[in-house]
Symmetry: D3
Subunit: 244 residues, 6 copies
């Protein structure tokens, strides 16, 4: 029995539930999905400042589960605090956009990314992952998550058009970024010319793969476990992890 | 029940067996490993010319199994013919060094690669995968596969020293490249400061993940399935796949 | 009269004082330096996890001063939460390592960076700033901030040797990274073959330059001001800035 | 008297003749062009799989001529098996797209590439050659080689429009990729705003230049000649070259 | 009292005056602007050849002022001879486009550049500065400097449209390149969605910052001062600087 | 009969003669080498400032020969004013280091560069040519051109050791940079493990190749011929070329 923490980074429970659902749909038999929502932070992350705040909230949330799960999936499309979580936690941690991009690398040459709203922070995220050379383009649709709920057919048509533009621009696969598009990869897949990648699904499968590999925790390198780090005003569990 | 073809690209059965063993050790319960060896080609691939020839041999071998396996692992550290195999086959295909590098991306910041002999073709391979920004360095040990068999303790000591140099140079994980090092990741792991990644093990886990995702085959993009391609002098199965 | 907030990101007042001192030494007549320390977070930032937590602490600290200062200098060598702070605050924000690197670009061809301890997060930081092509190399000395206090002569000798190696490797200037090296640029400058750059000094001068330029705040782009962002459990000032 | 092997990589004799004609038109007096066609493989290369198969066929073809020619031009726009051929053969080997791109580097700042059909494999090829920074853009026309034969005027008009777009996008020269466009560079040159580069012509001139330089064969490095490589099922000449 | 030489690189006095005016508008109280025009060279620089010639003219001009100014601003949008001037002069030297680009890096994520006429040499310039990863795009308007004088309203409208396209393409700031656009940043700023950067203004502020830092001149590295260099036919002052 | 101008960029006739000799040794029968030396400028180019001045001197020299030669070889290892010369002259122009680097690309995977003295400007030059991905490393020997004349055996030994280090670091070919090493490629070739590339020889062969291709001069793009450019104080021939 493997337990994967699916950790949302914003405080909206509905999004946590949506991600948990997607995770359960992707999980192997024998994988238990444990959803969790931070205690504080932004309701939704759509700016750099919210993303920074959510990073702390997410680490606090993770610290509460250290030792109780075999892997963590960060259910936030900005891969918030990913490397920090990796260093902090005694188990594998996978980001949902990271997972979708790495999966895309195994599916074709270059991939595109489509999201609602601005794309620049996604461009930066893919650069941070060192994958810019595999990115064919980004499409930021002029639609909000609310639109996706209110007018699903219209938004789906927009998404399909965006996918077509990305394929025209050289994409062999398309990453759908953002919780608002959760579930859409499965729904639109049959109508798209290339595979659509859902971050949560990819992250769950890669987390299972990492657990299966059973790699030891590093003792050296830039992700060596922390010890003896002092802090003020943090949650007891987080402060304890910093102390090692 | 999932069946994964573990396809060697050289004609040495002993290496096929070694890789099959490593694959079986990594496979999930319910994953069946089917090893296979090409009909023709180089005994061992250690040059660009041999790698090109092996590409054809490998595609012929794969064509013989099209439709009979749920995924393919290319058991050759040069990821020979990887993109071509991906386009040709109706199922996921994963290269062993590709898999180890992508796994390394989920384990730390930058990774190193260690192999016996020259490193330049590995540097080119990682560039081809678009992962150069994640590569901290390469170590090519002055030892042969024969040495690894004849003097395992000496070669293991050399490997550990090479790993130490890579970690000193910024590696958070080390990919062990080449069949001669198969099994060494597991054996030396406890003595290494960072995770050691075995290509076959990583490829099996990622192949299982891809099968689990159940992505549709592309209809467009640069990996759209072939149809109507004419050829001369190829194996019947390979010629049939080209015809679509 | 221009007031610059010099915001430490860790909770150690002594470091805040050290940075404030360096900032005052660099400030133009008429520039007032206002030092500040976060309410919570790590005592010292030396890991990815601490850096994430400090990001939230820093934004909270900045929010408390929004509208009361003409510019902000982030007195933390990881340029923690820099882009987020830039979006959040109604005034220019400059990171100390960012500032030193940009200054280095105006002083020579490529620059090196020297710090105590590990260098990988600095390498990533410079990549995040898009300046990797200007980086000649990094030197991470095997010494602690405590050593720098206890045995200054020995550490200074180590620093000069590290600088020499960086110049040998092609550096036309050397950025000294980390609060532990504050003041050393001025002290060792006369004995170094190339200019040494102190992050706080550079950041103060560039902040003054930005204030002098009087650029309008963006209305569009990825740093457009926030409005209507909801949150839970944040400090009143920070929550108010998110609401716009 | 210099003899250059112009080696097609597909099995279509008509394309071999077309390339030989273009080669003869470009060759210096005293250069003898020897065209050759592989024994097996794809009729035309328009997929990754066909390109891999053609690599083996091409090496077999080259091995049959080793020692009998002073240079080799690979008459295939994918520069199939180029580095392998370079290592295998005792004489200079030049790829036609490589040659056109390197020539373009001597003609202007950035260059564009125009072909019939998809462009992604050309983008990858130029990256493999390390020339991405010199590439301004790619144009893949929605026309087939058959169209080029059946409706030359229409296709020529499309090509000129594509060239105009590439120049608009910053191209100082345009590489015409693919055998279907052979001869078009000369024909359309006077109507194009920038030089058009024909791969075969460029390759012949650069092959002549390399023969003129008389460089020794490497004894070290990643292209050191092969020796003692064992194989199964290869043509006698190819197996012999592997044995050294 | 700080004196900054604002050195035009073409021989058109009117442009020198325009730049001096922009410099004075940006200068701090206590900064004295000294404009200067070369003795020979192109009337306007709009080609690579003119830029090379202007490089010599500019160095001659600078040599005439060595020791008499505390900093130099190169009032030429191609940053002509920038690194050479830096090595030659005993004081800080800042290029106007360099300054605008570095300032843009402190204002947002990626920046765009807009100019009249061709953009390729600006693309190359930004690559030479190592800032390509921060460049979102370039806009070259089909208008001449003469148009900007004759029909300012029409050209301003074109500029605003170009800025909008750049912001659409991901620019968080826009550099206005070329003397013909001097003053436009201030004029159009209020109507633009992101900050507009004027090269002269940015360069003056960064020059003041560098003077304030008081960095020592390098003794080593690639910009170490010259000594003992012999020459023929140069101006006495320039020849003297080469001799050291 | 083809005439190639071999244009030195410094004023030392002895170096012009040395280069002319190397050019004649490489030239095909029927190629006439016309050496030329600038009227003014540095005696030797070993700094950025000298290189800028030499750019003007070189263009003046070239203008004196426009229309009288079929190609130009820039006999200066910094490829001084290369793109400008290309735009200015009505015939092909090739730089000697450019030529050696492009030739190296046809000889192996990555290449190294070895020179006497500093290497940073060569690193920048190779980046300007967009070839950084093909560069394995640079070796700057601690020897002067005078040493090479006074103690040839000692310097040759140093060169061979430097070549060995470059090959160890992944070079498949080594470019010898700088006039002081002219002739050494031929002399040391038999003792080096990889091909040594002499800039003048490579440039002459590539110039012959370009003349043979007979490409038309561009009418558009960033190298379109000049017309109507006004100037002051230039040589009559250079001013005339600017006027078009």
């Amino acid at each position: 029995m493997m337990r994967i923490l699916v950790a949302n980074a914003n405080t909206t429970e509905a999004i946590t539930r949506l991600c948990a659902e997607a995770a359960r749909a992707a999980a192997a038999p024998g994988t238990d999905i444990l959803p969790a929502t931070p205690r504080f932070g932004p309701a939704v992350i759509s700016s750099r400042a919210e993303n920074v705040i959510a990073g702390h909230a997410l680490l606090e949330l993770l610290a509460d589960h250290a030792g109780q799960v075999q892997a963590v999936v960060l259910a936030v499309s900005h891969d918030t605090a990913l490397e920090a979580a990796r260093q902090l936690m005694p188990c594998p941690v996978v980001g949902m956009t990271e997972a979708a991009c790495l999966t895309a690398c195994m599916v074709g040459g270059r991939f595109g990314l489509l999201t609602l709203g601005g794309v620049e922070t996604y461009r930066e995220l893919i650069a941070r992952h060192g994958l810019s050379a595999r990115l064919s383009g980004l499409e930021g649709l002029a639609a909000t998550p609310q639109d996706a709920v209110a007018e699903p057919a219209r938004v789906e048509a927009m998404v399909l058009e965006g996918i077509a533009r990305l394929v025209e621009g050289g994409a062999d696969a398309v990453v759908l970024g953002g919780a608002a598009l959760a579930g859409m990869a499965a729904r639109l897949g049959p109508r798209a010319p290339v595979p659509l990648l859902d971050g949560i699904a990819c992250a769950v499968k890669l987390a299972e793969a990492l657990v299966g590999l059973g790699l030891p925790r590093p003792r050296g390198g830039s992700l060596a476990p922390l010890s003896g780090r002092q802090s003020t005003g943090l949650s007891p569990a987080l402060a304890a992890l910093l102390r090692g």
